[in-house]
Symmetry: C2
Subunit: 189 residues, 2 copies
Amino acid sequence: MDKLNLGATIPAYPMPVSLVGAQVDGKPNFLAVAWFSMVTYKPPRIAIALGKGHHTNPGIKKNQAFSLCLPSEDMVEVTDYCGIVSGKKSDKSKLFNIFYGELPAAPMIGECPLSMECRLVDTVATGLNEIFIGEIAGVYTEEQYLTDGHLDFEKMKPLILSQPDTAYWGLGKPLAKAWSVGKKIKAKS
Amino acid sequence: MDKLNLGATIPAYPMPVSLVGAQVDGKPNFLAVAWFSMVTYKPPRIAIALGKGHHTNPGIKKNQAFSLCLPSEDMVEVTDYCGIVSGKKSDKSKLFNIFYGELPAAPMIGECPLSMECRLVDTVATGLNEIFIGEIAGVYTEEQYLTDGHLDFEKMKPLILSQPDTAYWGLGKPLAKAWSVGKKIKAKS
């Protein structure tokens, strides 16, 4: 166990990548964001961490709303485009079939297998970024992505991003049941 | 595009799962946590969202430190065990070869291909959870997980968890280069 210390750095590990939607200067805009996490079940909330300079941030603050849309593998080109081109320079509102739920300032992407619309409930500044905590008002999918009424991630084909090696990945194969496979160790202990 | 609204709920999408280490009641303890994200590069910080009732939380607050260790696919049983058994009931300090970097209250797991030690810099209460924001003091890996000096996630084999279907997954295949594949659209626009 010879460990190497890479130092005080960000090991931007493979994480699912999302397209964050917001209404900015009167237009829907979408930004590729891999830095997000669920943060609480009750009420249902999700957090996203964005660099302060993004075109998206003032739109989220002004309208107190954003969306988080999960693209599939076959959306890799357009997702990457939304990460490399700023809404300051390019109109990204025509890239997708946009739909709305309850919140008029949370544009969502029809092509994404899973989308959620969020009301901004908290903003936390940290380093060069801002964390936006959103309360989920609605989660949208389609019948084709469900199996027996449940979200089926093999059908959704999430897109995963690792940053040190600048690579997009697919989701692999199911390995084991969660809250279950560890019971073998529990039985022995 | 017939969208179904699943309502105001948490679509706990496939996310990498970590083992969060903390010193609790004088002993190292490890909790399985999939709700984490990088939050800023400068300074390097990561956030984890934990239910308020976990055994781990008071240890993080008291010692102002925690670790985040990324298990590989072959650690699926022990990772799951650390999610289903509380440190209140079971001593999890003997499950792993523990090592330390700079922070004496951030126990790390030798078996994990990637681990980071963090100083607590902020705590944000949200719903039933607490978000701990940690500044990364060190990132630890081994030569066997590097290719040409860079983190190689195909060698690390990250473990991914989706919650609605209680499934662990492996990472799939690389699909495309990030900050690159989207240039095809940029060239056309």
